[in-house]
C-alpha cells in the first residue's frame, strides 16, 4: 500500500470525498502490486465501507487479527504440544471473507431479530466474526465440559444460537438447503432477518446447490450464499468438479444477483455483503457472493507447517496431480487479508502504525488467555453422553449389561 498516510485531523466524517477518492487509489495500488493473482473485483458495487464509523472499521481489522492469531496459536499448539487434543480445519488466508460478511449482519439482540449464519467444516473464522466467545470455543475444540457446546461438538459442530451462529456443519451440501429453510421461516413470519450460508467451491457439485438456489429464487427468500472459492476441495482443484470459471455464473443462471469479489479485501467483501443484506431485508430475495480466496494451510490439521511460521508448504501426501503448487500459495500470501485491511485503515487515517501494532499485541494476549483458560477447563463426565438426545431426559446406556 503505497499511498501517503492521511493525517488524523482530516478524516473525521464518513463523507464521500476523501474516502471515495482513497478507495480508488487503494484499489489501483492493489491492482498494480498484485497483478497475476486470481482475485478480482467488480467495481460497480457501491463502496459502502467508506460510510462505516471508525470504530466499526477498527473492529473489522481486530476481527481479522483475532481469527489470524487464533489460527496461528492452534497451529503452534498442534505442532509443539503433545497434550493438545484438538483437531481443526484452518481458515487462515480467508479471514476477510468471514469478517466482511458478518460486519454487514445483525449479530446481537433477541434470537428472533438477529441474522443467522450457517457455517462449514471450517468454522472458526465464521464463528469469531459472528461473535462467538473465543475462549469457550477453544474449550470446545479441546472437548471440555465447559466448552461452547459442553464437549459434544468439537470443531466441526460448534454452535452458538445466542449470536445467530447456527453452527458448523461437517457435511458438504445439506447446510445450504437447511439455511434456505431459516430464510423461509423469516419470510413466513414477516421478519426482516437474513439467513447466510458459507460454503466452499466444493459445494458447487452437490445436488444441494441446485435445491438451495432454485428454491431461494422461486420463493424470493432472504438468503445469501457466500461461496468461498479457495480453488481447492481437499486435494482437487475446483475445475475438476465445476465447468464455470466463476461459480457466480451458476447462480446468475437462476436469476439470482451474484457478485465476484476479491476475498482478500475485507472492504470489498463488506460492500457486496451489505448490498445483499439490504436487498434481502427489503424483500428483494436471495443473493450470491463468490469470494476468490485461498487457504494458507492444508485441508485438515497442520501438516507441512512449522512452529512460529504462517502457512504450510510442500505437503502433497498423495502426489495428487491437481494439488496446489507451493508457488501458488506463496503468490496468494503476497495479498494477505491482514496486510490489506491494516494498510487500508492506515491509509484512510483510521489508525496509524502504532495503534495497529498495539491492537495486534492486545489480540495476541487475548488469544493466549483464551487458550490458557480452555486448557484449564474440566473434562466431560462420561455419563453425560446419554443426555441431549431429546429435549428431555436421558437415553439408556446399552454398552453394558
Amino acid at each position: 500500500m503505497s499511498n501517503d498516510m492521511t493525517p488524523d485531523t482530516e478524516r473525521q466524517r464518513g463523507g464521500m470525498s476523501r474516502r471515495g477518492f482513497l478507495q480508488i487509489a487503494t484499489l489501483a495500488g492493489a491492482a498494480a502490486g498484485f497483478t497475476g493473482t486470481l482475485a478480482r473485483s467488480e467495481n460497480e458495487i457501491g463502496y459502502y465501507a467508506m460510510d462505516l464509523s471508525d470504530d466499526t472499521l477498527r473492529h473489522m481489522l481486530r476481527t481479522i487479527l483475532r481469527i489470524r492469531w487464533h489460527e496461528r496459536t492452534m497451529a503452534d499448539k498442534m505442532l509443539s504440544d503433545p497434550s493438545y487434543r484438538a483437531y481443526n480445519h484452518f481458515y487462515a488466508g480467508q479471514e476477510a471473507v468471514a469478517t466482511g460478511v458478518c460486519a454487514a449482519l445483525r449479530n446481537d439482540g433477541p434470537f428472533d431479530q438477529i441474522d443467522l449464519v450457517y457455517s462449514t467444516h471450517r468454522p472458526t473464522g465464521h464463528a469469531i466474526a459472528k461473535g462467538v466467545d473465543m475462549a469457550k470455543m477453544q474449550a470446545e475444540f479441546d472437548f471440555r465440559a465447559t466448552g461452547l457446546n459442553n464437549g459434544y461438538a468439537a470443531e466441526m459442530h460448534i454452535s452458538d444460537p445466542d449470536v445467530g451462529f447456527i453452527g458448523a456443519d461437517g457435511m458438504i451440501g445439506p447446510g445450504h438447503v437447511i439455511a434456505t429453510g431459516s430464510a423461509f421461516a423469516f419470510r413466513a413470519r414477516g421478519s426482516d432477518q437474513v439467513s447466510v450460508v458459507f460454503g466452499g467451491d466444493g459445494t458447487y457439485a452437490t445436488p444441494h446447490f441446485h435445491s438451495a438456489l432454485n428454491n431461494a429464487r422461486l420463493l424470493d427468500l432472504p438468503f445469501i450464499y457466500v461461496l468461498e472459492n479457495n480453488l481447492y476441495h481437499q486435494y482437487a482443484h475446483y475445475s475438476h468438479s465445476c465447468p464455470h470459471a466463476d461459480i457466480a455464473d451458476a447462480a446468475r443462471a437462476y436469476g439470482i444477483p451474484a457478485r465476484v469479489v476479491d476475498g482478500q479485501d475485507v472492504f470489498q467483501v463488506y460492500n457486496a455483503a451489505k448490498e445483499a443484506v439490504d436487498r434481502a431485508r427489503a424483500g428483494g430475495g436471495p443473493s450470491f457472493i463468490e469470494a476468490k480466496t485461498y487457504r494458507y494451510y492444508n485441508h485438515w490439521g497442520a501438516p507441512g507447517a512449522e512452529v512460529g511460521k504462517l502457512g504450510a508448504f510442500g505437503y502433497d501426501p498423495l502426489a495428487i496431480s491437481s494439488f496446489r503448487p507451493e508457488r501458488e500459495l506463496r503468490s496468494w500470501m503476497q495479498r494477505d487479508p491482514v496486510d490489506i485491511a491494516r494498510a487500508t485503515l492506515i491509509d484512510w487515517g483510521v489508525m496509524d502504525e502504532t495503534t495497529a501494532d498495539t491492537m495486534e499485541t492486545d489480540v495476541r494476549a487475548e488469544v493466549d488467555a483464551a487458550f490458557a483458560w480452555a486448557a484449564e477447563q474440566p473434562l466431560c463426565t462420561p455419563e453425560d453422553g446419554l443426555k441431549h438426545v431429546f429435549a428431555e431426559g436421558v437415553v439408556a446406556p446399552r454398552q453394558m449389561a
Binding site: 459434544y152 438447503v177 437447511i178 430464510a183 413466513a188 439467513s195 435445491s211 432454485n214 438426545v389 429435549a391
Partner: protein
C-alpha cells in the same frame, strides 16, 4: 366428538396448531392440505394461512425436509408432508442433521419440526418402487428423532398435536392406506403421547404386536382367534422410537408368547426389535414373526396379495404357537 375421517382428523390438528402459532409453516408437494368431512367446515390450510406459510414446492423432498429443519432452527415450528414416492429422499438430512444436531451442539439446537412421511405398499398393481414400507426401519434406527406411526383416526390426530408441540424432531409415518378410516374423534385438541404403545385388546394366551397399516389385519386375526376361544392380547406399537419396552415386556411376561407382525420386510423390520427386546427381558417365552418377505412387492395382485401378511395368516401363525 364427531365421526371423522383420518385425513380430516389430522388436518384439524394442524389447523389448530397453525391458528395458535402464527409463525408455524407447512410445506407440501402433491397433496394440497385440504380435507372435508360431513357436517364440518372444509379445511384448506393454503387458503386459510396463505402462501407464505403454506407452500407448494417443486419435486424435491430433500428440500422440503431440510427447509422445515432450517425453519425450526430459526425458531419457527414447521412441518412438511412428503409423498410416499419421495420417502427415501430426505433420509440423509433426517439421519445426519435433524437427528444429531441437538446432541452435537450440547443441547443448543432447537428443532420443533415434524416430517410427515407417507407410506404405501398396500396397493396391488403399484409395484416395487411405489412401495415404501421399508422406510419405517430406516427412520426408527437412527438417534435423536421420535418416530411414530398411528393406526386410527383418534391416534392420528392426537399424535399430530403431540408431534407439532414436541421440541424434538418427529418422523410421523402416515400410512396412506388408512386415510379413509373414520371414527368418533374429539373436536378439541388433545395429545397422544409420542412414546407409548396402545394395548388394543387384553388377553392371556398370546401377545400380537403390530403397527400402522398392519393393524387392521392384526385386529382381524385377533377376532378370528377370539372366535376360536383364544385369549389374545393385541398391542399397537404407535411409537417406533422410543419403543415402549415396558408395555411389550409386561404383556409377553404375562402371555409367554409373542407374535410380532410387520407389513414391511422381514429382515430388521420393527418386529425384529420387538422380538429382540422381549427375548432379552422374558426368558423362556416363545417368539415368532411374520412379515412381508425380503422381496420388493410385485405388481401382480396374485403375487402381491399372497405375499402380504393377512388376518388369516396371522391367526394361523398364532394357532401354531399356542
Amino acid at each position: 366428538m364427531t365421526v371423522k375421517t383420518w385425513m380430516y382428523s389430522v388436518l384439524e390438528a394442524v389447523q389448530w396448531e397453525m391458528r395458535d402459532d402464527p409463525a408455524m409453516t407447512w410445506i407440501f408437494e402433491l397433496t394440497p392440505p385440504v380435507a372435508s368431512n360431513p357436517d364440518m367446515p372444509v379445511i384448506n390450510l393454503e387458503t386459510e394461512f396463505g402462501k407464505k406459510r403454506v407452500v407448494n414446492t417443486g419435486i424435491d423432498e430433500n428440500w422440503m425436509c431440510s427447509a422445515v429443519l432450517g425453519a425450526g432452527l430459526a425458531g419457527s415450528r414447521a412441518a412438511t408432508y412428503v409423498p410416499y414416492q419421495g420417502a427415501g429422499m430426505p433420509f440423509q438430512v433426517i439421519q445426519n442433521h435433524a437427528g444429531k444436531l441437538r446432541h452435537m451442539t450440547g443441547g443448543r439446537a432447537s428443532m420443533p419440526v415434524v416430517f410427515v412421511i407417507e407410506m404405501t405398499g398396500q396397493t396391488p398393481g403399484f409395484a416395487g418402487q411405489h412401495s415404501d414400507y421399508e422406510v419405517d426401519s430406516a427412520y426408527m434406527h437412527i438417534a435423536g428423532v421420535r418416530t411414530v406411526v398411528p393406526s386410527t383416526p383418534y391416534d392420528a390426530k392426537g399424535l399430530m398435536h403431540a408431534a407439532l408441540r414436541s421440541p424434538d424432531p418427529v418422523v410421523y409415518l402416515y400410512p396412506a392406506g388408512l386415510r379413509m378410516l373414520f371414527e368418533e374423534v374429539p373436536d378439541e385438541p388433545y395429545e397422544v403421547p409420542l412414546d407409548k404403545a396402545a394395548v388394543r385388546q387384553e388377553g392371556s394366551d398370546i401377545t400380537l404386536v403390530g403397527s400402522g397399516a398392519g393393524m387392521p389385519d392384526v385386529l382381524g386375526a385377533a377376532e378370528i382367534l377370539g372366535a376360536d376361544g383364544m385369549s389374545v392380547e393385541v398391542i399397537d406399537l404407535r411409537a417406533l422410537k422410543e419403543m415402549d419396552t415396558e408395555t411389550l415386556v409386561g404383556s409377553v411376561g404375562k402371555t409367554g408368547r409373542l407374535l410380532a407382525v410387520d407389513q414391511s420386510y422381514y429382515t430388521l423390520g420393527p418386529a425384529a426389535e420387538v422380538v429382540a427386546r422381549c427375548a432379552e427381558n422374558v426368558d423362556g417365552a416363545r417368539f415368532r414373526r411374520i412379515a412381508f418377505p425380503d422381496a420388493p412387492p410385485p405388481a401382480s395382485p396374485e403375487m402381491f396379495n399372497w405375499m402380504r401378511p393377512n388376518a388369516d395368516g396371522i391367526a394361523d401363525a398364532a394357532r401354531k404357537m399356542v
